[in-house]
C-alpha cells in the first residue's frame, strides 16, 4: 500500500464521477488531437505535392479547380489547352521548365496521366521494378496503384473514359505495365503514368471511330476521300492539346510577371499553387477553428468535472484525511495524494484521448483512401500534442489545487471531533 495505490483505489471507488471526468477529457483531448493530426496530414500532403511547381497553366475556369485537378488529381480538369500555346510559354526566359499533363481517363479509379519523364523526377520517384515508359501505351504505375490493384510488370489493362469508375472503356487500347515506382508519399503514388501520345491516341481513335460510324449512318460514302483529309487535319489539330502544364520559374520575377501575362494575353489560365492552397486553408480554417474551440470548451468542462469530483470526494473523506494524519501521514503526503488523483485522472484522459484520436485518424485515412486514393502516413506525436499534454496536466493540477489546499489546512482535532 502506498500513496499512489491509495489514490488509484480512491478513483475506482467512485466509478461514475471518474468515468464522467475521463469521458469528457477523452473527448476534448481526442478531438483536438484528431484535428491537429488531420490538419497536419492534409497540409503535409498538400505541400509535399506542390514542391517545385510555381504555377499551373490550364484552361480557363476556377483556379482552385485547376490546382486541385492538375497537382492533386482530386478534381475534374478545367478543360484542354493548346499544346503549341503552352510550349510557346515554355520558351519564355523566366520559365525554367514546364511539364505537360494530359489526363481524363482512369483505370479502376486511378488516374491515367500522360506526361514526360520530368514528372516522376519532380517527385523524386524511383523506379522500384521495371522501367519508365518509352513507347505509347507503356505505363509506369505508382506504388499505391500497384499495391491496391495488385498489378505487376507485364500486366495489361484498358482505361475507362472519365474520372469516375464505370466509365466507358477504351477496349481497343490496352496499356502495358512496364514499371512500378517506389513510394514517394506524394500524388505520384496514386497515378498511372504514360506517354502523352498514349492519351492522345486513345481519344483520337475514338473520335475517328465516332466519325466513321456517323458517316456510315449518313451514307456519305462518296465524300470519303475528302473526309479522310479532314480527319488528318483534325487529328493534327487535336494532337496539340494537353490538359495542363506545371511550370517552374527561373527567378522570382516569374511570379510577378507570368501569371498576369498568361491570364491577360492567352486563352489559358495561370494559377499559383501557393496562393490557392493558402486560400483553401483559410476556408477550411474557419471550420477547424470552430471545432477546436468546441474541443477546448469540452476540455475546460472536463477540468471542472475533475475539480467537482475531487472536491466532493474530499468532502466525504475529510474524516479519512484526519484519520490518516493521526496514523502518521504528513500534510505533504496528503496534498500529494490529492494532486496525484487529479493528475492520474487527467493523464489517463489524455492517453485515452490520444488513442481515440489515432482511431479517428485511421478511420479518416481509410475514408480518404477509398474516396480520394490519398492516405496518411506517420502517426507520431506532433509538437502541438505535447502542448496538449501540458494543458491537460495543468488542468489536472488546477482542478486539484483547491482540494489539496483544503487538505493541507485540515484541522485534525476538529474534523475528528465533528465526525
Amino acid at each position: 500500500m502506498n500513496i499512489f495505490r491509495l489514490s488509484f483505489r480512491n478513483m475506482t471507488s467512485r466509478p461514475l464521477s471518474t468515468i464522467l471526468s475521463l469521458v469528457l477529457l477523452t473527448l476534448g483531448v481526442g478531438m483536438i488531437a484528431l484535428l491537429l493530426q488531420v490538419n497536419r496530414h492534409i497540409q503535409q500532403q498538400m505541400e509535399n505535392n506542390v514542391r517545385g511547381i510555381d504555377m499551373v497553366v490550364g484552361a480557363k475556369g476556377s483556379p482552385l479547380q485547376l490546382i486541385l485537378s492538375a497537382i492533386y488529381h482530386i478534381d475534374a480538369p478545367t478543360g484542354n489547352i493548346s499544346r503549341l500555346e503552352a510550349e510557346e510559354l515554355q520558351k519564355n526566359r523566366l520559365v525554367a521548365s514546364g511539364i505537360p499533363l494530359s489526363y481524363g481517363d482512369t483505370y479502376r479509379g486511378f488516374r491515367i496521366v500522360g506526361t514526360n519523364h520530368q514528372y516522376p523526377e519532380l517527385y523524386e520517384a524511383e523506379v522500384a521494378s521495371g522501367k519508365l515508359w518509352h513507347e505509347p501505351f507503356e505505363v509506369t504505375i505508382g506504388a499505391t496503384v500497384a499495391n491496391t490493384l495488385e498489378l505487376k510488370t507485364g500486366d495489361t489493362f484498358t482505361g475507362a473514359h472519365g474520372l469516375v469508375e464505370g466509365g466507358e472503356t477504351h477496349e481497343e487500347h490496352a496499356y502495358l505495365v512496364v514499371g512500378i515506382l517506389g513510394y514517394t508519399n506524394s500524388v505520384v503514388d496514386q497515378l498511372i503514368l504514360t506517354a502523352t501520345e498514349s492519351v492522345w491516341e486513345v481519344h483520337h481513335y475514338e473520335e475517328k471511330e465516332d466519325q466513321t460510324s456517323a458517316q456510315e449512318e449518313n451514307h456519305e460514302h462518296e465524300a470519303h476521300g475528302d473526309n479522310h483529309a479532314d480527319e488528318g487535319h483534325e487529328e493534327h489539330q487535336a494532337e496539340h492539346e494537353i490538359t495542363a502544364m506545371l511550370v517552374k520559374f527561373r527567378s522570382p520575377m516569374g511570379m510577378v510577371q507570368l501569371p498576369r501575362m498568361v491570364n491577360e494575353n492567352t486563352n489559358m489560365q495561370a494559377a499559383v499553387p501557393a496562393y490557392e492552397i493558402s486560400r483553401l486553408f483559410s476556408l477550411m480554417g474557419v471550420g477547424i477553428d470552430t471545432l477546436s474551440t468546441i474541443a477546448l470548451v469540452i476540455m475546460a468542462v472536463s477540468g471542472l468535472s475533475v475539480f467537482i469530483s475531487l472536491y466532493n470526494a474530499l468532502k466525504d473523506r475529510q474524516y479519512e484525511m484526519a484519520l490518516m494524519r493521526t496514523y502518521g501521514a504528513t500534510r505533504w503526503q496528503l496534498v500529494w495524494l490529492v494532486l496525484q488523483e487529479g493528475l492520474v485522472l487527467t493523464l489517463t484522459g489524455f492517453l485515452l484521448g490520444m488513442l481515440f484520436s489515432r482511431l479517428g485518424l485511421w478511420l479518416v485515412s481509410r475514408l480518404m483512401e477509398t474516396t480520394y486514393h490519398y492516405s496518411f502516413s506517420g502517426w507520431g506525436l506532433v509538437m502541438e500534442e505535447w502542448w496538449l499534454l501540458a494543458t491537460a496536466l495543468v488542468i489536472g493540477l488546477l482542478a486539484s489545487l483547491l482540494p489539496a489546499f483544503r487538505v493541507f489546512r485540515i484541522n485534525i482535532s476538529k474534523t475528528l471531533a465533528d465526525a
Binding site: 500500500m1 496514523y327 504528513t330 500534510r331 503526503q333
Partner: protein
C-alpha cells in the same frame, strides 16, 4: 513514560480547560473519567499531539510532543501512538487488510502481512481480512478500529470513549481486548470516557 505538566488549553475565552498533571509510569494503564463537556476529547487530542496547548507540556517516552516540528510530530504519532475513536472510521476505498497496510506505510514501517494477520487473529476478525470495513458489523468495526491502533506496536494507546455506544457485554469485551492488546504489545493504555462501567476494570483512575 507519560508526563503531563500544567496543561492548559483554550478554544476561546469562555471555553478553556486546565488539566491536572499526570504521571504514568511504564507498564501502567490509566482510566480518565469525566462528564461530557469538561474537555475529555480535548485532553486526548493534546496527548496525541493533534492539538497545541496554550501552555504546559506533554511528554511521551521522554519526548516533549509540542516541541517537535509538525511533520516530525506526525511521524512520531504514527510510530508510537495508537488511537481508538468513539466511532470507528476507515479509509472507505480500501479493504480491512489494505487499511492496516496503509497505517503501516504511513508510519514509515515495513508492510508486514504476518503482523496484520496476527493482529486480526487476536481480535477474532481474521476472516474479514479482504472485506470492506463498512460492510462489517458494529462490533467487528470496533475491533477493526482497535486493530488499526495496535498494528504498528505503539508504545501508547489512546482510546476516546471506545465503549459508550456498546451494551454491557460488548463494553466489557472491548475493554478486555484493549487491555489485552496493550499488554501484548507492551504499550500503555489510556482510556478517556464517561462510561462508569469501566471503573471496575482499572486500578488507576483519574477523575476530571
Amino acid at each position: 513514560m507519560v508526563k503531563v505538566r500544567a496543561l492548559f488549553f483554550a478554544y476561546n475565552k469562555q471555553t478553556c480547560f486546565r488539566f491536572p498533571d499526570i504521571d504514568l509510569e511504564a507498564g501502567r494503564n490509566l482510566l480518565v473519567l469525566g462528564e461530557s463537556g469538561i474537555g475529555k476529547t480535548t485532553l486526548l487530542h493534546l496527548l496525541a499531539g493533534l492539538l497545541w496547548p496554550k501552555s504546559g507540556s506533554v511528554e511521551v517516552m521522554g519526548t516533549v510532543l509540542h516541541e517537535m516540528s509538525l511533520a516530525k510530530l506526525d511521524r512520531f504519532r504514527g510510530r508510537h501512538i495508537g488511537l481508538v475513536f468513539q466511532r470507528p472510521h476507515f479509509v472507505l476505498a480500501l479493504s480491512l487488510a489494505e487499511n492496516l497496510a496503509l497505517v503501516q506505510y504511513l508510519a514509515g514501517k515495513q508492510q508486514d502481512k504476518n503482523r496484520i494477520s496476527e493482529v486480526l487473529d487476536s481480535l477474532g476478525i481474521r476472516h474479514k481480512l479482504h472485506e470492506k470495513p463498512y460492510r462489517l458489523s458494529q462490533g467487528e468495526q470496533q475491533r477493526a478500529a482497535i486493530a488499526l491502533a495496535v498494528v504498528n506496536n505503539p508504545r501508547l494507546i489512546l482510546a476516546d470513549e471506545p465503549t459508550s455506544s456498546l451494551d454491557d457485554k460488548n463494553c466489557m469485551k472491548v475493554a478486555a481486548l484493549l487491555k489485552e492488546q496493550a499488554s501484548a504489545t507492551g504499550a500503555q493504555l489510556i482510556i478517556i470516557t464517561h462510561d462508569q462501567r469501566l471503573k471496575a476494570q482499572f486500578q488507576n483512575t483519574l477523575i476530571l
